[in-house]
């Protein structure tokens, strides 16, 4: 069941490798697939394509640029806005009669530009209007009355939503959305004035998305014209995928080919064979500023092709030799020297993660460079991608693709094959002559829109090297002609049989010269296969030696001939498991015909084995249980040395001996005791803890020590865990895995978490689950939440949400969405502590930030010379810790840097153009523009690092999320589809379709329109959906039901006065929100007939996050909690005294922390038998000294946090 869902919705996220064959047909190959799929909507042949993750650009044979934007569940929408302005006069009141000095009646926000509805036009035919203009009634997060008007004394002034006595003018905002409609289709980029683009395009390269995050989806597109001019496409971003227009870039010569990397690398090849490197590319100047010439790698022959990535440059010279450029980085885009590589290629393309793709000169196959890693950017070997095209085997493609007619395609293939060899000698003049000669039917003659061979030939020869062919006129002509003679001779024997078998009509119709060349070429390819090594052997007989090949003699010798490949959208790295390779083309077809072992089969086998084992055990042991065991069980002790963070002052790491004694308890459960043997005043002492009292084991990796923390209920109260450091990381994980098994064994916990489980995440991204007891939500005597036992689940997430039917979703730091697979373990839990099923590789990327601080002095202005009392000039956010670019390491050894340090402009408060924020002094509030009072400034630098781990999570591509929510319900609830809502990283509200327990990833997103980006969402009982917009206001979605899963409209709910809301959680009936100042609010007055409620009631401060469960239980992450030994930030807290009639509860109970970042109790629907609330609860609340808020004095030391935030 799950497998089928997996295939549908949540297999490994696939991405596409794009390629063009020598006939100009565009194909894509999915990383999850095993065959090239032809891009069938292309009406034209294409010369070149350049792909990025979200789209693919191409030059078609009409030399026009086309764009193929991949369809997504979220449409590309652009909000147009215009303002309607009115002035008050005593006669008409507010009217459109403005003063002559006023702005236009319809204008932009500033009033400087006249903007009527009619002045808005769709940018191209690829757009459509979503609806008509309408008034935006939301004003800065607040709801306006009376048609969206906001009032002011005069233009321009500050506007308020309330009309005052002196309000003389008013305005309102009209909005209208347009939508990009040409998705998953090749849309022609409208060409501008013809005079600007005198000659057709010849090459194109897309990249630059890593230069800046803003605007979202920004890309750099570079094009080369036939005359050798270079053009830059301006204004490409998410909301404007087509860009605005072409700008010519001045050049020192004529360019033949250009390559743009994901970052700031841009190289081009000159006609003369040298290379050009663009300098000065950056956030403010994506076009760069100047060119530097780099000589060709080879002194004899010039370069014909270059391909760049983030940190690599590859080149091909005219002799097809491949070169790798040493020493490339963003400070040195020119690199330092060339290294010759093995292999002969016609072109090379560098894709994502600096992975390299190429098309070999010899067989025109697409090759992948294996073993490219950050430490070995040049990789190890070339490996051929040998998968069939979707039409290659008619019987198999019928099931796997939407091929219209296998038969017709088949005959087409034969013809293709007959032309296949052409490009191998395109640089000969003879070839060129014949290509352009009388054999070529004109495009119009073709029966299909596809233009047959000659057109494509001509541009293939062009794209290999136009100049080569010209050179060939002089020296290459005769030699090649004679080779062709030979080929013709060899052809006669070889041709007949396959041609007859394949398609007699075709062979008769062919121009003999063409088929001749073709067959020789086919033989060459076959030579790869072990059986076909002589020219005399016909292709049929060679295949026949493989008995499986007999059924389809045509299948194996059809070798696609590629002209161009683009990996810019293909997410692979050296770890990726691809099914694209095999030792030869023939065996690949054999392999794909033979039955390979599917996961379903494996699962079935495992089940069978398990059942047979069970049967055997039953047969052999059931009647003999009274027999004595041959081996008596005994105590097992594991010992080791560790360092321990001493409990008393002065706190320091001391060497200890550490031992775990395990034994079988009386109830059959295993139990154990932990011992820490230490020396105090030369006296040997020990500390111990019973394994069944340990509540959690928390790994705390940092760059200096391999530490972990052990909590018991008491230690949680004290906010002071046992902190231990193992000598090596490996030993730490061995101990953690062993202790974890031991703890789980002692509590009888095994296997995956239950559907009721409570999930939480630390600020390190570690994931923990706890199995709730029914008594956890009992009243008046709930289980104290410091007694909850937490165990770790592999993976790395920032947010996790679940409900009680077993659907769990997570979101990573890089906003990737993940669906829980039902497994457990992963990460360092290997072997026995981990399920072998359902564990997958998971990656996450986050940024590390450091601050550059400067102080102004009258002589030199801002410098890095601070006052003696100042913070470090390079520091962390607090300024207390020195953090320089060189000494700052990734958060733990598991993270590796994946980018260089870059200035972060997206800091709250804004920055100037260089990223600086100004303030009067450290520390203060910073603002983005310099004023006279500012004496200090700082800017934030960010560097991305990446973690690769494993866990029971499968990516739900492709949309990045910032929040997700699932309908909380009773465990017995019968839901056909589980309602799941999410907010995309861009702020779109989304509704996931067909989420079920069996297929938790669902199938697709339904986009729910909003007038502004959102940031938090929660769906509660009875399908109440609440959401928080980025401006801090709340929204209620009306009419959501199982039948109408997306609801119909948003109702604006004003936020609490002067507060911007941040997060919302809706339980069975309760609605709680948290604002940006850490206040927790409860929504009063909700009734079935008026579900929006009436007012916000303040519950607590110091709250970071809230999770309201299906029982209306309230759990939070509190910012500050005082323990007896230390203060902790990020603590799990449970609201006590929550009753049906008292949903707000009374006080807080404190659980695990600090360092916790997220909790969800939305799976826990285990209800305890309820008692009526009595005075006992009050007294208990009093004795637990639970204050109204988790605020505590900041007096004690902070190092009690095992995981510091």
């Amino acid at each position: 069941m799950f497998e089928s869902g997996g295939i549908k919705g949540c297999t490994m996220p696939s991405s596409l490798l794009w390629a063009v064959d020598v006939y100009g047909r565009v194909y894509s190959l999915s990383t999850a697939g095993q065959q090239w799929e032809q891009c069938r909507d292309a009406q034209l042949e294409f010369k070149r394509v350049t792909a990025v993750q979200q789209c693919c650009w191409g030059i078609a044979c009409d030399h026009q640029v086309y764009l193929n934007v991949h369809a997504s569940d979220v449409p590309i929408r652009y909000q147009e806005e215009t303002y309607e302005n009115q002035r008050w006069n005593p006669v008409d009141g507010f009217s459109d009669r403005l003063l002559p000095s006023d702005r236009w009646q319809w204008s932009d926000m500033t009033g400087l530009k006249h903007q009527t509805f009619e002045s808005f036009h769709l940018p191209s035919e690829n757009w459509e209007w979503e609806a008509d203009w309408y008034v935006d009634e939301n004003f800065g997060g607040e709801l306006t009355e009376k048609g969206g008007w906001s009032y002011a004394i005069d233009f321009p002034a500050s506007y308020t939503k309330d009309k005052k006595w002196n309000s003389c003018v008013r305005r309102r905002r009209w909005i209208r959305y347009r939508r990009y409609k040409a998705r998953d289709a090749w849309a022609k980029i409208p060409s501008e004035e013809p005079r600007q683009l005198p000659d057709p395009f010849n090459d194109i390269s897309c990249g630059g998305w890593e230069i800046s995050d803003e605007p979202q989806g920004r890309l750099s597109l570079w094009a080369v014209s036939l005359q050798g001019k270079v053009w830059f496409r301006d204004g490409i971003e998410h909301h404007n995928p087509e860009g605005l227009g072409w700008e010519e870039v001045q050049l020192p010569g004529e360019v033949v080919q250009i390559s743009c990397g994901p970052g700031d690398l841009l190289w081009a090849v000159l006609w003369e064979g040298q290379l050009l490197v663009r300098e000065g590319i950056g956030r403010d100047c994506p076009k760069g500023s100047s060119w530097v010439v780099v000589e060709s790698p080879s002194s004899e022959v010039g370069a014909i092709h270059v391909a760049v990535g983030v940190n690599v440059v590859w080149a091909v010279t005219k002799d097809h030799k491949v070169w790798f450029r040493r020493g490339i980085n963003s400070h040195n885009p020119c690199g330092s020297g060339w290294i010759g590589m093995v292999g002969e290629m016609v072109m090379i393309n560098v894709g994502l993660n600096d992975q390299v793709w190429g098309i070999s000169r010899e067989d025109r196959a697409v090759y992948f460079r294996q073993g490219v890693t950050t430490s070995e950017l040049s990789g190890k070997t070339w490996k051929a991608v040998s998968v069939p095209r979707d039409g290659d085997r008619s019987h198999s493609s019928a099931s796997t693709s939407s091929l219209p007619s296998a038969g017709c395609f088949f005959s087409g293939e034969v013809r293709v094959q007959s032309q296949g060899s052409v490009p191998s000698d395109v640089d000969s003049e003879t070839e060129r002559a014949s290509a352009g000669g009388p054999t070529s039917p004109k495009p119009e003659d073709a029966p299909k829109p596809r233009i047959p061979k000659v057109t494509s030939d001509s541009f293939i020869s062009e794209l290999v090297s136009d100049r080569e062919s010209q050179l060939g006129k002089r020296d290459g002509g005769t030699a090649v002609a004679s080779i062709q003679e030979e080929e013709q001779g060899g052809e006669q024997e070889g041709k007949v049989l396959p041609a007859l078998v394949l398609s007699p009509s075709q062979s008769g119709g062919q121009d003999p010269q063409w088929s001749n060349v073709d067959l020789e070429e086919a033989q060459t390819h076959q030579a790869v296969g072990p059986a076909s090594d002589t020219a005399e052997t016909s292709s049929l007989s060679s295949v026949a030696t493989y008995n499986l090949g007999l059924e389809e003699p045509y299948g194996s010798d059809e070798h696609p001939l590629w002209a161009w490949v683009s990996g810019g959208g293909c997410t692979v790295d050296s770890h990726s498991q691809l099914n694209w390779f095999s030792s030869s083309g023939i065996s690949s077809s054999v392999q794909s015909m033979s039955l390979s072992i599917s996961p379903a089969q494996t699962a079935a086998w495992r089940k069978q084995i398990f059942e047979q084992l069970n049967e055997r055990s039953k047969r052999e042991m059931e009647n003999f249980k009274h027999y004595e065991q041959a081996i008596e069980q005994s105590v097992w002790v594991k010992k080791g040395t560790m360092q321990w963070w001493r409990d008393w002052k002065p706190h320091k790491w001391v060497d200890v001996r550490f031992a775990l004694e395990q034994f079988s308890g009386t109830d059959g459960n295993k139990d154990g005791i932990l011992f820490i043997y230490y020396t105090f005043n030369e006296e040997k002492k020990y500390l111990h803890a019973f394994v069944n009292e340990v509540t959690i084991l928390v790994p705390v990796l940092n760059d200096s020590k391999h530490t972990f923390a052990i909590y018991t209920a008491d230690r949680t109260k004290q906010r002071w865990p046992i902190r231990l450091a193992a000598p090596t990381e490996l030993e730490m994980y061995d101990w953690l895995a062993l202790l974890s098994v031991s703890c789980c064994d002692s509590r009888g916990i095994q296997g995956p978490p239950s559907r009721q489980a409570i999930w939480s995440i630390t600020c390190k991204g570690d994931i923990f689950v706890s199995e709730p007891l029914a008594s956890l939500e009992a009243s008046p005597y709930p289980t104290p939440c410091d007694q909850m036992f937490w165990r770790q689940i592999g993976g790395h997430l920032r947010t996790v949400e679940c409900n009680s039917v077993g659907v769990v979703w997570g979101i990573g730091y890089d906003h990737t969405a993940w669906a829980y697979t039902g497994g457990y373990g992963g990460g360092f839990f290997q072997g026995l502590t981990s399920s072998t099923d359902n564990i997958y590789t998971q990656t996450d990327v986050k940024s590390v930030y450091i601050y550059e601080n400067q102080r102004w002095n009258p002589v030199t202005g801002y410098t890095n010379r601070g006052l003696p009392t100042d913070r470090y000039m390079w520091s962390d956010a607090s300024g207390l810790q020195e953090c320089t670019k060189t000494n700052t390491k990734p958060p733990s050894p598991h993270w590796t840097w994946v980018s260089d340090w870059t200035i972060d402009y997206s800091v709250s408060g804004g920055t100037d153009r260089e990223g600086w924020q100004y303030a009067a002094d450290f520390p203060a509030t910073y603002h983005g523009n310099k004023t006279l009072k500012d004496f200090v400034r700082r800017r934030r630098w960010a560097r991305k690092c990446k973690l690769t781990t494993t866990g029971p999570w499968l990516e739900v591509p492709p949309i990045s999320l910032s929040d997700v929510t699932l309908l909380p319900c009773m465990a017995v609830a019968k839901l056909e589809h589980v309602p799941l809502w999410a907010i995309s990283n861009k702020g779109d509200v989304l509704c996931r379709l067909e989420v079920t327990t069996e297929a938790p990833a669902g199938t697709s997103w339904l986009h729910v329109g909003t007038d502004q980006p959102f940031k938090s969402i929660s769906i509660g009982g009875a399908h109440q959906v609440w959401a928080i917009a980025r401006d801090g206001s709340a929204f209620y979605r009306g009419s959501v039901s199982a039948q109408n899963p997306a609801g119909d409209c948003w109702y604006h709910i004003p936020s609490p006065p002067r507060q911007k809301l941040k997060q919302v959680s809706v339980g069975r009936t309760s609605v709680y929100t948290v604002d940006e100042n850490g206040n927790l609010w409860y929504r009063q007055g909700l009734t079935p007939s008026y579900p929006q409620g009436s007012t916000w009631e303040h519950i607590s401060n110091n709250v970071r996050k809230v999770s309201v469960g299906p029982l209306d239980q309230v759990w939070i992450i509190a910012d500050k909690v005082q323990g007896s030994h230390s203060l902790s930030c990020g603590t799990v807290c449970h609201r006590l005294g929550v009753q049906p009639m008292e949903p707000k509860g009374q006080s807080w109970d404190y659980g695990i922390g600090g360092g916790w970042d997220h909790i969800t109790v939305r799976g826990n629907s285990l209800e305890a038998a309820r008692f009526s609330m009595s005075a006992l609860a009050d007294s208990m609340a009093a004795t637990r000294t639970a204050p109204r808020s988790p605020l505590a004095l900041r007096s004690q030391e902070m190092n009690g946090n095992a995981v510091s935030c």
Partner: protein, 232 residues
């Protein structure tokens, strides 16, 4: 959910109920009662029969005691085969409990290896582990382990500590994902009715054309007789 841990546990905790009877010709001071034990399938006879030895020693004279050995229906049982293998090989069709005859005389020198102490079993066990790892990882994993790790493996087996054993053994059972499997699958096919005690050949987990071999493939290649003929 039937995942590996469950399977491993079931394999590890497989037990064969056994009835040990003293050979009729052994001289005893009084009548020797049979001795009943649950033998772990994944252990060695001489490693788990201390209790048996003690039990029969009580009824025998010191001077009659030589090295203990076992026999089933006339076949001397090789202690260096795992117990489960011995049972399946010789006695899989008998009614349980498995009836093993205990001898203290006439050690069949031609059929059996001597087992003077547990260290001999340990040496045999470790050499099997090393041989298997040589096939699986060119011996790299076992060689990288420390002495104490080897000891942990052995102690895990000796004391029937599943967790202790597997905490170490899992390292021997891992392979880099990019390689898709071990170098060779360590296996032996034991036969009763043959001159060769077992078949052992090199066998890759993945065929040259990339598909994963199954146990069926292995048998087809190494011991086709084991495959029922009527099956496809």
């Amino acid at each position: 959910m039937a995942d590996d841990k469950d399977v491993l546990r079931d394999v590890w905790f497989g037990r064969i109920p056994t009835c040990f009877t003293l050979y009729q010709d052994e001289i005893t001071e009084r009548e020797a009662e049979p001795f009943y034990l649950l033998l772990p399938r994944v252990s060695y006879l001489t490693l788990v029969t201390d209790k048996v030895k003690k039990h029969f020693h009580k009824v025998m004279k010191q001077e009659d005691l030589e090295e203990m050995w076992f026999e089933y229906e006339g076949t001397p049982l090789k202690w260096h085969y795992p117990i489960g293998v011995l049972f399946d090989l010789h006695a899989s069709n008998t009614a349980l409990p498995w009836s093993i005859t205990v001898h203290f005389k006439d050690f069949p020198e031609r059929d059996l290896l001597h087992c003077p102490s547990n260290s001999v079993i340990e040496a045999h066990f470790m050499s099997s582990i090393k041989e298997a790892d040589a096939l699986k990882h060119k011996g790299q994993v076992i060689n990288e382990m420390q002495k104490k790790d080897h000891k942990q493996l052995w102690m895990g087996l000796q004391n029937d500590k599943f967790d202790q054993f597997w905490a170490m053994n899992r390292k021997l059972m891992e392979y880099p994902t990019e390689e898709g499997g071990f170098r060779y699958i360590p296996f032996r096919i034991y036969q009763t009715m043959s001159d060769r005690p077992f078949i052992q050949k090199l066998f890759r987990p993945v065929s040259p054309d990339g598909h994963t071999h199954t146990l069926g493939d292995l048998l087809k290649e190494m011991f086709p007789a084991a495959i029922p003929q009527d099956e496809e």
